[in-house]
């Protein structure tokens, strides 16, 4: 058998899960969709003493709109994010990224909460959550708290969650009117880990001046990388070619920190970031001139 032996628990409520985590948190791993954890267990890179399977916790599987915010249970399958009609209407950036998240067979099983808690710097969903300023609800037997996506990802495969905590809900605040979006990545083959990728959001006022912008990169550092200087270059400007070039230069040359790998040197990753930023910003600006809800 591939994985090392472990004790298997399959709770059917959040409360039961938190009790298990309180007792054995540091020796336990939570199993969500398993699309990253099970490969690591098959290689025996990860050998949890206790595996707590969340697939029977039905109360973690939901996607609903409240006011204009979207509340998503941590065990909601990626497939649902791909196909639910609420997503392209209200969060077109997320809809655009979903087909890039691994392969259909993986999205059928993988979950939003699992991808976020795994915090792979090359993953799309942490980048999208940061761009959309998601808020994440963490629960433990001690209580619950909300964490901004910005504070949730603390490093390579590392999050702000304590050993006795679990991610329960993701809240996406509604996108501003007249916000344009774009998600682009370059991968050797569809569904593979991308060499570089960017999520761009641009909000324009009635005169076409940029009120707000955000650029977040994948595979560009220890976690999702928020290029704040590039965003402030755009702010207050009508984003034409020169402004976009300056933002692309700042993000790709100064703000991201790609490591390089056997498929792409760090220089090539920076080159990709520059080209993708340019293209994504142009697309986002074009889209921003029309309200995404009209």
């Amino acid at each position: 058998m591939k994985p090392a032996p472990f004790e298997y628990k399959a709770p059917d409520s959040i409360e039961e899960t938190l009790t298990l985590l309180r007792a054995d948190g540091s020796d336990a791993k939570l199993l969500a969709g398993g699309q990253s954890l099970v490969p690591a267990m098959n290689f025996r890179v990860v050998q949890p003493g206790i595996l707590i399977d969340l697939n029977r916790v039905g109360e973690l599987n939901y996607l609903r709109q409240e006011n204009q915010d979207l509340r998503i249970g941590a065990m909601t399958r990626e497939r649902r994010l791909e196909f639910d009609p609420l997503i392209p209407k209200w969060f077109p950036l997320l809809a655009e990224a979903m087909p890039h998240v691994a392969h259909p067979q993986i999205r059928n099983r993988g979950t939003l909460g699992g991808s976020l808690a795994n915090a792979d710097p090359a993953a799309e969903l942490p980048v999208i959550m940061l761009a959309l300023e998601a808020r994440l609800k963490a629960c433990s037997a001690r209580g619950e708290r909300w964490v901004d996506a910005h504070d949730f990802f603390s490093g390579m495969f590392t999050t702000d969650l304590a050993p006795d905590e679990m991610l329960v809900e993701i809240l996406l605040p509604a996108m501003q009117p007249y916000t344009g979006w774009s998600f682009m990545e370059v991968a050797p083959r569809a569904g593979d880990y991308a060499l570089m990728g960017v999520a761009a959001l641009v909000t324009l006022d009635e005169n076409g001046v940029c009120k707000q912008a955000r650029l977040v990169y994948l595979n560009a550092g220890d976690g999702p990388v928020d290029a704040k200087d590039a965003a402030s270059i755009l702010k207050g400007q009508i984003p034409g070619d020169n402004t976009i070039e300056a933002a692309a230069d700042s993000a790709s040359q100064k703000e991201i920190n790609p490591f390089g790998n056997i498929h792409a040197s760090a220089d090539f990753q920076r080159h990709l970031a520059r080209v993708l930023t340019r293209k994504a910003l142009k697309q986002a600006v074009t889209r921003a001139s029309q309200d995404h809800l009209q």
């Binding site: 058998m1 591939k2 994985p3 090392a4 032996p5 472990f6 004790e7 298997y8 399959a10 398993g34 699309q35 099970v38 490969p39 267990m41 098959n42 290689f43 595996l51 399977d53 697939n55 497939r79 087909p99 691994a102 392969h103 259909p104 067979q105 993986i106 059928n108 099983r109 083959r189 569809a190 569904g191």
Partner: protein
């Protein structure tokens, strides 16, 4: 002493009950416990797609699911394709299998069961797919014999047969 967990599930409409170790993968369960060796294992870490099965009707990697997690669920493997179509094994091949035969969609055949099980829900949801859509849907299945041209041709032919 290794703890065993009960698993009661349906595979290709047949009910099975077994006691398994929690770390037994669904792929190995199908092959070793049930003798359904049509589900192939390639990379065993979710990259190659050879072990793709239908889990409650959706394509998934059986090497990334523990057998114990299939308790109460319904699985379909490549062995169930022909009878799912005709009701009887001896009636011959599913039109998807027939199309792979006619369009030379396989050489060694190792990747074929995973590709077939990926394409079943894809063609149900996309009865008239473009070549781009087919290639995207096939992106999670690796074939090391050929290029993918004949596989794409076979899926196109299957779409015609199944419409």
């Amino acid at each position: 002493m290794t703890q065993l967990h009960p698993v009661a599930l349906k595979v290709n409409e047949v009910s099975y009950q077994r006691q398994v170790e929690a770390r037994l993968l669904l792929s190995d369960f199908l092959r070793h416990e049930l003798g359904l060796t049509g589900t192939h294992v390639g990379c065993e870490h979710g990259v190659c797609g050879a072990c793709t099965i239908l889990f409650d009707g959706q394509s998934m990697r059986s090497c990334l699911i523990f057998a114990v997690q299939a308790n109460g669920h319904s699985i379909m493997t490549v062995e169930g394709l022909a009878s799912a179509h005709s009701g009887r094994m001896e009636e011959g091949l599913h039109p998807l299998q027939q199309a792979f035969w006619e369009a030379h969609g396989l050489q060694c055949g190792y990747c074929t069961p995973g590709i077939l099980m990926t394409m079943i829900p894809f063609l149900e949801q996309n009865p008239n797919p473009t070549e781009d859509e087919i290639r995207h849907a096939l992106s999670g299945n690796l074939c090391r014999c050929t290029g993918y041209q004949h596989i794409v041709d076979a899926v196109k032919l299957a779409a015609e047969k199944m419409r």
